[in-house]
Structure formats: structure tokens, C-alpha cells
């Protein structure tokens, strides 16, 4: 009998302590970040904690989930987010989930000025900007040159020659990349829903027709890397990071910028509307953009950084990646994502569903 009482008491105490802790944690000097996998390497977090005393809690996510989560919390629950720059202004207008950035608190001279200006311009809502650039990259092709030498552009992924050896994501970048490579300008059609729908219908037909070449529509990085590494897949649309990672293991595999232009994205720092730890958030932004730290990140993840002087700290083979994969003529040809107007994603979603379900 006494045992039961004891156990129950322990449980109650434990329970209440845990609950108390759960609620207390929000007041702790903790910075809650929602970001992409790999964007917050453990070494940098440790260093940040050491320098500032703030502990960091990382939640892995992607653009869509970031928006959904923040929408459901009405901009709370996290202190810092890292959405892509094209996914900010429309959700700010719709759900008001971010707060404007106080650029006075940002150490702007360590940021690439043109990138900063572009991001400021793209995230402008009611005269205020909502983001600071952090990482940029491109989506192009990762090709096993020995097995699929002829893949040069997104449209080559539809080639029946490579039946069952091709993989791409069933997400909007695929629609847009294919669009560019087939001679459309999807971004120009954004403003005209009717025309955009027409474009999507075209893409639907083309991608359904191209289904036999697809091994699987990858939707996680693991899946993509494994199938390319094992040579189950010969060509895929993916980020340069995947290509470069694999290139280090197998020189046959590399990232190729499509002839119609790679798709360029910029991931940013944005502060949720109900961030509870602004000081830490700003400190973290400045910390991550310090050249040394930014270079550490790039060396690890191989993505480009918005930190101006990081290039001085890059490993030679990482630098080589950039000169090989993203030379100036490729950079000039990049199709940068403009802001996504509301409603477009739903149209795209329907098209993607139809493609997936089609036989």
C-alpha cells in the first residue's frame, strides 16, 4: 500500500515538475529556431552558446511547414525562422506571422550588399522589410555523367532513354524548372492566374507523359542521395549541395546548372511576430553571418552564404565547387524565385496531385 502511495506521489511530483519546466522553459534564455536541416551545425551552436549564453533549440522544417506552424501559433512558439525570401511577404500579408526587421540591430556591413538589398526589396510589406539573407543556392541537375551523359537541362529528365533512372521532386520547383527549360517563363505568368493555370495544365500533360522515366519522386534528401550514390538513379533535379557531396565520393556524379538556367533561392532570417527572445534572435543572426562562422557553415554544407568575407575562410575544394559548378556565366543565368502570390501554391498543388495520382 505504501508503495502505491509512494509511486503515485513520485509520479505526481515528476509530472508537475515537468509541466512546470515546460512552461518555465519559455522564460529561460533559450532561442528557439525553426530552420532547415544542416543550417545550424552543432559546432556553431556550441560556440554561440559559449559566446552569448543563449541556448539554442532547433526544430527542423521546410518552407511550407514553417508557415503552417507559425500560422497555427499565430507567429509564436519560435524566436527565429529561416524561410526562403520568396515565401515571406505573402504570408506576412495574410497571417502576419513575422515582424519587421530592425536593421539597426543587424551588423549589415558583413552582409553582401546586393543580396541584402534584393531580399529587403522582395520582403517589403507596407514600407517595412522582414528578412535578412543567410544562405543562397540553386536547384539544377545532379547527373551521373558516366551513365546519363546527355542530361543538360530539366527537360532531359523526361527523356525515355533514361526510363526508370530519373528522379525529381513533385514540388513546385520542378514545375518551374521544367517550365523554363521548355521555353515558358513561369515567373512572368504569376500575375495572371488564368495564364498560369494554362501553363500548369501544359506541365501536367508533359510530366504525366514523362512518368515512365521516373524511378520515384524523391521527397527526402536521404532518398535522393542514396539512390544516386547506389546508381539506382542516374539523373535528378536537386540542389548543388547534393551534387557536390556526391562528387566528393564519385567524380562521375556532379552538379550541372541547366542550360535554361538554374533556379536560385535565398534562405533568410525572419523573426516570428511573437518571438520571445529578440535579443538572442538578433545576436544569432549577427553571429551566423560572421565570416568565419558563415565559412564554417559553407565548408560543411557547401551552400553559398550571404556573408561578404566568408570566402576568405573557405576550404579550397569547396571553393573549387563554386568555380566548377557556379561560374559567373551560370550565376548570371540564374532564375531567382520572385515572391509567390497567394493562391498560386494551391493551383500548383492540385496539378502536382494530379501528376502523382496519374497512371
Amino acid at each position: 500500500m505504501k508503495k502505491v502511495v509512494l509511486v503515485l506521489m513520485v509520479l505526481t511530483i515528476l509530472g508537475s515538475v515537468l509541466f512546470a519546466q515546460a512552461s518555465a522553459e519559455t522564460k529561460n534564455p533559450v532561442l528557439r529556431i525553426i530552420t532547415w536541416s544542416g543550417y545550424a551545425p552543432q559546432e556553431l551552436l556550441d560556440k554561440f552558446t559559449e559566446q552569448t549564453g543563449y541556448k539554442v533549440e532547433v526544430t527542423l522544417s521546410n518552407n511550407e511547414e514553417m508557415i503552417s506552424k507559425l500560422r497555427a501559433t499565430r507567429g509564436g512558439g519560435f524566436d527565429l525562422a529561416q524561410p526562403s525570401q520568396d515565401r515571406i511577404s505573402s504570408v506576412v500579408e495574410q497571417y502576419a506571422i513575422y515582424q519587421p526587421i530592425d536593421y539597426a540591430r543587424i551588423n549589415t556591413e558583413q552582409i553582401d550588399a546586393s543580396l541584402l538589398e534584393a531580399v529587403k526589396k522582395n520582403t517589403l510589406v507596407d514600407g517595412k522589410s522582414y528578412a535578412v539573407p543567410h544562405v543562397y543556392g540553386t536547384e539544377g541537375l545532379v547527373v551521373n555523367k558516366a551513365l546519363a551523359p546527355d542530361v543538360k537541362d530539366f527537360k532531359d529528365l523526361l527523356d525515355p532513354k533514361y526510363a526508370g533512372r530519373v528522379s525529381y521532386r513533385l514540388k513546385r520547383p520542378t514545375l518551374i524548372g521544367m517550365g523554363f527549360s521548355l521555353g515558358y517563363d513561369p515567373f512572368a505568368l504569376y500575375s495572371d492566374p488564368v495564364a498560369y493555370q494554362k501553363f500548369l495544365d501544359e506541365m501536367e500533360k508533359i510530366l504525366i507523359a514523362g512518368k515512365p522515366s521516373v524511378k520515384t519522386y524523391w521527397d527526402n534528401g536521404d532518398q535522393l542521395l542514396q539512390s544516386l550514390r547506389s546508381e539506382e538513379v542516374w539523373a535528378a533535379s536537386a540542389w548543388e549541395q547534393a551534387g557536390w557531396k556526391l562528387h566528393a565520393e564519385n567524380p562521375n556524379i556532379d552538379y550541372i546548372a541547366p542550360t535554361s538556367g538554374a533556379l536560385g533561392w535565398v534562405d533568410t532570417f525572419a523573426i516570428p511576430a511573437k518571438s520571445e527572445n529578440l535579443d538572442a534572435a538578433y545576436a544569432y543572426i549577427n553571429f551566423m553571418l560572421e565570416p568565419e562562422n558563415a565559412a564554417f557553415f559553407t565548408n560543411r554544407e557547401t551552400y553559398g552564404t550571404a556573408s561578404k568575407d566568408a570566402v576568405n575562410y573557405l576550404d579550397p575544394e569547396i571553393k573549387a565547387n563554386f568555380t566548377r559548378g557556379l561560374p559567373p556565366e551560370v550565376l548570371a543565368n540564374i532564375n531567382w524565385y520572385p515572391t509567390v502570390p497567394a493562391g498560386i501554391e494551391e493551383m500548383e498543388g492540385k496539378t502536382l496531385d494530379k501528376i502523382k495520382a496519374a497512371r
Partner: protein, 285 residues
């Protein structure tokens, strides 16, 4: 046919073979997952690159073993916290429900009983989204009318606990009811007759009798919460539970640290299972 009846050798052999295959089917993926936790490779797949314990104890820079992987450790801790809280909440609710439906009579009892078993036939995804939307609506209302930000109504720890408890409580209730049904009420009367008051009867007789089923129900609640994905995915906030966190990792490219976690989980639950079952609770469900 059965133990006591004769049957041909072929029949018996065939049957045994079927069962052996079944168990291979059951355990193959687990064994593979566990073995690959010791693969000295950066990827959780073949080929075998040699044996290593790095995915348990490695401390960077290349390989972060599970014991140094802050994100995974934190999500493990979160899962424990959630499971413990769900266990407490749903054991309490489930036991209350068992008493209510087995021992009391009231109007609309049948309707309420039906509501109680409804979560069994509601897909977890729908429980998740409906609770998310409901709490969001309330949260918006509070925010707009009272100008207070009710953070506990957004995705996060409290919502995960409530969401999981909403259906786990039903399961606990069924487990406890099953035993309460067999309870001989003259035991209560005997205790009254010997001078016990209502509280003493509840504590010394009824609850004591129910103890195995309450413990069993609590254990089930803990495990079900620990591995829940479908409901949690919609309700989780900044603190991801282990299954959610693992899903995110698999999605974005993982290392055999996933296998190491799986190894520990399989080991842990197996030990737990054996202890629980060897105590004679044959029926877990």
C-alpha cells in the same frame, strides 16, 4: 489440429514453416535496422563498411553519436516528457471513464459511451487537425477579444499531450473497464461491512483490484504516446518528439544515428515488454 489431436507430419511441418516465415517477416526489418547502427558509414544503408560504435559514442566532427547528438537527445527527452504526461492524463481520464461507465447510471450514458469509443474509429490525422483548428480558433478569439496571447493554445507541448490523450484515454478506459467488469462488488460490500468508509473501499479494495489493469493501461499509454506520429505531427511546436524529429531527419538526409536510436528504442521496448509480459499480463491490448 490442436495439441491433443493427431495430425500428419506434413501438416505440422507446413504449419511450423509458416510460423517461422512469419516471425522472420516480423523481425527482418528490425534486425537490419539494428545491425546497420554499427556500420562505419555515413549513410544508413549498405554496403557494410566495417564495425563502429561511433553512432553511439562519436563526438564529431564527422560523426555525432546519439549520446552527443543534441537535437536527437532533446527530442528523446521531449518524447519522454510527453509520454509521461500523456500517461498521467490518460490513465486518470481512462480510469474515471471506466468507473463512470461500469458503475454509474445516468441519462445519455449510451450516447456518452459511444462518444468515448469514437476516438478508436477516428483516424489520428483527423484528431490532430481538428484539435489544432479548434485550439487555433479559441486562441484567435482570445487574442482578438481579450488581447492576450494564449501560447498554450498554439502547437506545442500542452497541445501534443492533449491531442494524444484524447484517444489514448479511450484505450486505457477499455483496459480498465475489462477488469472492472469482472470485479465482484460483494468485495466492496464486505469492506463496508468491516467498517471501511467509501474512500477506504475505493483505495484498498477497488483500486487495488484494478491495479494490474491500471498499470497495464498506463504502460500502453506511455508506449503509444512515445511512438505516435499521425496526431503529433500537426500539434508539435518547437519541441519535436522523437518520431517527428526522426521523420524530419530521414526526409532531409540522415546518418546511421537513426539506426542507433532505433537500436536503443528496440532494446528498451523489448526489455520493457519482457518485464511487463513476464509479470503475467499476457493481454496487452
Amino acid at each position: 489440429m490442436i495439441r491433443s489431436l493427431p495430425s500428419s507430419k506434413r501438416y505440422r511441418g507446413g504449419f511450423t514453416l509458416f510460423i517461422v516465415l512469419y516471425f522472420i517477416f516480423l523481425f527482418a526489418p528490425l534486425v537490419v535496422t539494428m545491425v546497420l547502427a554499427f556500420n562505419d558509414s555515413m549513410y544508413p544503408s549498405l554496403p557494410w563498411q566495417g564495425f563502429t560504435l561511433d553512432w553511439f559514442f562519436g563526438n564529431g566532427p564527422e560523426k555525432y553519436g546519439i549520446f552527443h547528438d543534441q537535437t536527437n537527445l532533446r527530442s528523446l527527452y521531449t518524447s519522454f516528457k510527453v509520454a509521461l504526461a500523456v500517461m498521467i492524463v490518460s490513465t486518470f481520464l481512462g480510469t474515471c471513464a471506466a468507473f463512470l461507465f461500469e458503475q454509474e447510471n445516468f441519462r445519455f450514458k449510451n450516447a456518452l459511451y459511444f462518444l468515448m469509443i469514437a476516438p478508436l474509429v477516428i483516424p489520428g490525422v483527423i484528431l490532430g487537425i481538428s484539435i489544432l483548428m479548434f485550439s487555433n480558433t479559441i486562441g484567435l478569439f482570445i487574442e482578438n477579444h481579450m488581447n492576450v496571447y494564449a501560447s498554450f493554445l498554439g502547437p506545442g507541448f500542452p497541445l501534443v499531450v492533449l491531442g494524444q490523450s484524447s484517444f489514448i484515454s479511450t484505450i486505457v478506459a477499455l483496459v480498465v473497464s475489462a477488469r472492472l467488469k469482472k470485479f465482484d462488488h460483494t468485495l466492496e460490500e464486505a469492506a463496508y461491512n468491516l467498517g471501511a468508509n467509501k474512500a477506504e473501499v475505493l483505495w484498498f479494495i477497488t483500486l487495488k483490484y484494478l491495479r494490474p489493469s491500471i498499470i497495464g493501461g498506463a504502460a500502453m499509454a506511455f508506449l503509444m504516446s512515445f511512438e505516435n506520429f499521425n496526431t503529433t505531427i500537426f500539434l508539435v511546436g518547437s519541441q519535436a518528439t522523437l518520431p517527428i524529429n526522426m521523420y524530419m531527419q530521414v526526409r532531409d538526409g540522415s546518418t546511421p544515428v537513426i539506426n542507433a536510436i532505433s537500436f536503443l528504442l528496440i532494446l528498451g521496448t523489448s526489455i520493457f515488454a519482457v518485464i511487463n509480459l513476464s509479470k503475467g499480463n499476457k493481454k496487452i491490448l
